[in-house]
């Protein structure tokens, strides 16, 4: 504060008339406000043109058949749509309980100490790790070490190596990698949701004789549910856009007999991974068209997730917490 206060009365050697300086300051103020408006308008225009461009590119390709059908020549993205939701769903089923548990521990049980500091630092570090590295890590751990039929499973293998006919490139390996990638976000989101519960509710529960677990389970989690739900959808949206972590773990196309099956041990590419394989390998006929269609579909899903999230947050809040949004 003091530093700012000292700097403000800038005394120039030959002071101009006050009115001149004031007028100039006002002009600069107007110009800069205009510049900032301009920046914002350009940004909005850029976003609008990106979305419009992607929509225009692929809208002609999109059809109900394109989104749901599957064939050997790869002209439709039905399996990819299925895989996307399947892998996200599986990842959420694993990620949400762990993140909730961690958040409950951090909010309700933990006292400041080395363990809490370490967990927080680990969460931040994990959030900062590039997803391609998590992709490589997922490949090493989930595809190779836990994977079946890999050459590493030899008699003189390293002791901790589990040799069974396990997953390899698979939906499960992809899901688990997504779990690690999104744990920090999910922990954060759950923590915020739990911290948002009014303290009076906790105190009331304790006053009625509830123990800690009952308070958490019967009072805190239900009250935090609207915020948690929006958090889960936000995380799902992040998972949907992820590519680099899935290329080395989820593998390419699902086998024919597994297109719409629930088997987690078969390979499966999501829409984003599919887009990458189309661009990088491009062995499919009409690869450009299909890529455009896939990209358009992704943009539509993104809009759905983001705009739906706002509506849902408000609706859930009214229904579950009885508050007006």
């Amino acid at each position: 504060m003091s530093a700012i206060a000292e700097r403000t009365p800038a005394v120039s050697p030959a002071p101009e008339p006050r009115a001149v300086r004031r007028d100039r300051a006002r002009r600069v103020d107007k110009v800069m406000a205009g510049v900032l408006w301009g920046l914002a308008i350009v940004l909005v225009g850029l976003l609008a043109s990106i979305i419009l461009y992607m929509l225009v590119q692929g809208l002609s390709v999109l059809s109900w058949k394109f989104i749901t059908a599957a064939d050997l020549s790869g002209q439709y993205v039905g399996p990819e749509v299925f895989n996307t939701f399947y892998i996200i769903g599986l990842a959420l089923v694993i990620c949400v309980p762990i993140a909730m548990g961690a958040a409950i521990y951090l909010v309700e049980y933990a006292k400041q100490g080395p363990f809490v500091t370490a967990v927080r630092f680990a969460t931040e570090t994990l959030a900062g790790i590039p997803s391609i590295i998590l992709g490589l890590f997922g490949f090493l751990v989930f595809v190779t070490v836990f994977g079946g039929g890999q050459p590493l499973c030899t008699p003189n293998a390293i002791p901790w190596q589990i040799c069974y006919n396990g997953f390899g490139y698979s939906r499960l390996a992809g899901s688990l990698t997504l779990v690690i990638l999104n744990l920090p976000l999910m922990v954060r989101v759950s923590e915020d949701a739990l911290r948002g519960v009014p303290n009076e509710l906790r105190e009331a529960s304790f006053a009625l004789g509830g123990n800690k677990f009952k308070t958490v389970w019967r009072v805190m989690v239900p009250t935090a549910l609207p915020a948690l739900t929006t958090g889960v959808i936000l995380t799902a949206g992040k998972m949907m856009g992820e590519t680099a972590a899935l290329i080395f773990t989820g593998g390419g196309n699902s086998p024919i007999n597994g297109w719409f099956s629930l088997n987690p041990f078969i390979p499966g590419d999501t829409l984003t991974a599919h887009l990458y394989f189309l661009k990088a390998e491009g062995t499919v006929a009409n690869a450009t068209q299909i890529a455009n269609g896939t990209a358009t579909l992704l943009i539509l899903l993104l809009l759905l997730f983001n705009l739906g999230l706002r509506y849902l947050a408000a609706a859930l809040n009214r229904r579950l917490a009885g508050r007006r949004a």
């Binding site: 700012i4 403000t8 300051a25 600069v28 103020d29 510049v35 914002a40 940004l43 976003l47 979305i51 992607m54 590119q57 762990i98 961690a102 409950i104 521990y105 309700e108 049980y109 933990a110 400041q112 967990v119 927080r120 680990a122 931040e124 570090t125 994990l126 959030a127 900062g128 590039p130 391609i132 590295i133 490589l136 190779t144 744990l183 920090p184 989101v189 949701a193 948002g196 123990n211 800690k212 677990f213 929006t230 958090g231 936000l234 949206g237 856009g241 992820e242 590519t243 680099a244 887009l275 990458y276 990209a295 943009i299 809009l303 983001n306 705009l307 947050a313 809040n317 917490a321 949004a325």
Partner: protein
């Protein structure tokens, strides 16, 4: 009853511990593999870090070009993006009327949410041809086949990608300044812009700087968007100076992440190429770790933090801020 309490407590503690296990495992696994380049393949560290030829199949793993590419792309993206991002943050917190402020929030969220592969696709379909045209115009109608691919396209794509990160964190930093600062400055007769320049930006500088560092982290780890537009030439520096016109060229080049993406599938487990990729990955891991550490330090130094209290640093606030605000509006109070 006491036992049940203890049981639930330890279940929750284990959940928290999983994060610790995950991060340790990542450093351990990547580190162990990275180490083998130097122990099993006997590559000299100076050859790895300062060699300029990346041909793992021929036994040459000099990563200097790749490291340079990553750093140049990141630094320039941050340099271009920071002023724009801070400008937009100032627009949102200081200039915009309420409707415009409410409009900007979903705009920033959508920009964050667009998958990086879509940014790459746009770069490939729109930006690269545009840059190629500009090159052709500047050089009088002639442009090499790979014109447009290179560091400029990568920097432009990255600039847009890290913009929402820096902007949201700057908005948080500016929004958490006490209203009294503004009032005091205006009461002294300062205009809105003088208040911004002399009072608000300096006061929020540590928060803004946190955003810049997190933006760096995002830029250096970005893979797919960059891979589509950089041209992936692992033997050419991102900027080349020549004695004849045009004196400076930006040939197709490569970065750490792009090389990881393209080389990993072909590498045979245990070969030099495979181990060298893990070494590259470990370098990237170390850089992103250091950025996290720096951002924590910077955030801790700020005079006005967005959410006081223990254990909440700018980094956590930053990455998840747009969400936190969305929840604050719609979710639990």
């Amino acid at each position: 009853m006491r036992n049940a309490e203890w049981g639930s407590r330890s279940v929750f503690a284990v959940c928290a511990g999983i994060v610790l296990v995950a991060i340790s495992a990542i450093f351990l696994f990547v580190g162990l593999n990275a180490y083998q380049t130097f122990t099993v393949n006997h590559v000299r560290p100076q050859d790895f870090f300062f060699g300029t030829t990346w041909l793992p199949d021929d036994g040459q793993v000099g990563a200097f070009v790749l490291i340079t590419g990553s750093i140049v792309a990141t630094v320039f993206a941050v340099l271009v993006s920071t002023p724009i991002s801070v400008g937009i943050a100032l627009f949102v917190t200081e200039i915009a009327p309420v409707w415009a402020r409410q409009f900007m929030q979903p705009v920033l969220e959508l920009l964050t949410g667009i998958p990086s592969i879509i940014y790459g696709l746009i770069g490939l379909l729109v930006l690269v041809p545009l840059l190629a045209n500009i090159t052709a115009t500047l050089s009088g109608g002639f442009a090499p086949g790979a014109a447009g691919f290179g560091i400029i396209a990568a920097v432009l794509v990255l600039t847009l990608m890290i913009l929402p990160t820096i902007t949201t964190i700057s908005i948080d930093a500016l929004g958490s300044l006490p209203q009294g600062l503004r009032e005091a400055s205006l009461a002294l007769g300062a205009t809105r812009w003088q208040t911004i320049r002399r009072t608000l930006v300096p006061a929020a500088s540590s928060g803004i700087f946190t955003g810049v560092i997190l933006g760096m982290g995002r830029a250096i780890g970005e893979t797919l968007a960059v891979s589509f537009v950089i041209g992936s030439n692992s033997s050419s520096f991102p900027i080349r100076f020549t004695d004849t016109p045009p004196y400076v060229t930006f040939p197709p080049t490569s970065t750490i992440t792009v090389q990881l993406l393209f080389d990993f599938k072909e590498a045979v487990a245990g070969s030099l190429g495979y181990n060298a990729i893990w070494t590259l990955a470990f370098i990237l891991l170390t850089i992103s770790f250091l950025l996290v550490v720096v951002s924590r330090r910077v955030a801790a130094r700020g005079a006005y933090s967005a959410q006081g209290g223990s254990g909440r640093t700018g980094r956590q606030r930053g990455i998840f801020s747009s969400f936190t605000r969305a929840v604050a509006k719609g979710g639990a109070q």
